[in-house]
């Protein structure tokens, strides 16, 4: 079937207001929803805290051993926590029809998707980054490495949010997409995990952290520009039921 928006109504679209209106409107909407359903922001944090506590009990309380695994543990848990928050990213909008309205918006879907991703990042990843120092202290990560850990988390989580959003959009129309989402998205997280953990362990070892952080920035740039297109395509597919 060929479906196209014909030139019929160019006369109507004369008065565009502010092109970024869609992005800001979508961001504000999702940010308000995230604030209102606060449990969706705190659950990933609780999960993060509880599981961080398990490691000293499981492996050993000695600071040296904990410090060695601290970057890896924090980063792996940040990825797992992001999976929890991704589950509900599109599920609610899909069920109450908002996703359809996004697809049918006069403004390009790309803008709304970027707005939604930014809101998801602020609601899901920022609390993690704010909570990470406490987890780092709990795992006796050397203090000089803390700033690098935060930098790597800040640079890495946009990529995690964007790639996760692609997986979430692909599995939104499936009832129980949880495990499938993890299987689809985890292999794509590997580069972020590698560069994130090595940036922090470089800092622990006192080496220069410019390399891995630069790579994280490259990945963030790539995913922020490319992923919204994939997410838009996936959302259109989900709505075509």
């Amino acid at each position: 079937m060929r479906h196209s928006s014909g030139p019929a109504c160019r006369a109507w679209a004369a008065h565009r207001v502010r092109p970024l209106n869609a992005l800001v409107a979508q961001f504000l909407r999702d940010w308000r929803i995230a604030l209102r359903s606060r449990h969706e922001m705190t659950t990933p944090l609780m999960f993060f805290a509880v599981v961080v506590m398990l490691f000293p009990l499981a492996i050993s309380p000695e600071p040296e051993q904990l410090a060695a695994i601290a970057p890896g543990v924090i980063w792996v848990l940040a990825l797992l926590a992001s999976l929890l928050s991704l589950e509900g990213l599109f599920k609610r909008d899909f069920s109450d029809g908002s996703l359809e309205q996004m697809v049918l918006s006069a403004e390009p879907l790309f803008l709304a998707v970027v707005g939604k991703l930014l809101a998801h990042w602020c609601a899901a990843s920022l609390p993690l980054v704010i909570f990470a120092p406490i987890a780092a202290l709990a795992l006796s990560l050397p203090l000089e490495a803390l700033s690098t850990l935060l930098a790597s988390l800040l640079l890495g989580t946009p990529t995690v949010a964007c790639l996760g959003a692609v997986g979430a959009a692909l599995t939104v129309s499936l009832g129980r997409g949880g495990m499938l989402l993890a299987l689809i998205v985890m292999p794509l997280y590997i580069p972020v995990l590698i560069f994130g953990t090595s940036a922090t362990s470089f800092a622990v070892a006192g080496l220069s952290v410019a390399g891995p952080l630069a790579w994280l920035a490259v990945l963030a740039g790539l995913s922020l520009t490319l992923a919204p297109f994939a997410v838009s395509a996936a959302i259109r597919m989900a709505c075509e039921e």
Binding site: M1, R2, H3, S4, S5, G6, P7, A8, C9, R10, A11, W12, A13, H15, R16, V17, P19, N21, A22, V24, A25, Q26, L28, R29, R32, I33, R36, S37, R92, D93, S95, D96, G97, S98, E100, Q101, M102, V103, L104, S105, A106, E107, A112, C239, E240, E241
Partner: protein
Amino acid sequence: MSELSTPSNPRVLSSMPLCRAIGLRCERGGRELFSDLSFTLDRGVMLELRGPNGSGKSTLLRALAGLYPDVDGEIDTCDLAYFGHRGGLSPTLTVAENLAWFSGLAGTTADDVPGLLRRVGVPYPNRPLSELSAGQQRRVGLARLMMTGERKPLWLLDEPLTALDSAGEALVGELIDEHLACGGGVVCATHQDLPVVPGLRIELGH
């Protein structure tokens, strides 16, 4: 709402048709819903889709909206607003926030929201949507249609009269009349009779 074209100053509009469908054919679950369906919707005309449940009315509407690709044939439409069973409003937000979001998506400004809400009979901009009744939520959906009417000349309405009282049905009639007067077009799938006389009528599923 000044930019919105109101009945008092319908602007001169090109005569291009709003929606053209050629040779539409759809099969669902092995059963043929409709075949070789063609029509052209010009400005100021309402197309009414009639037919029993499961005759493909909603499927045709979703196909026109581009939300259902499994339809053979050619569809050419302009920007459109889809008013389906699922209201597309999020319950945790207030009415005003929902409308602000829609105006952002449609790229228009929504300055006179209280006036709009009074018009559709739900004058509580700051009340969360979850506290409103189903009929009131449908009315907020109608407010959404009115607000984006300027950018989206074609309205696709899927049984707009459900959950609406008699005053609501009259409201729907008024809105459709206004929209048609401003040079918009409406495709409406319905069971009850609409207070508006349809320019075109298609029977499905016989």
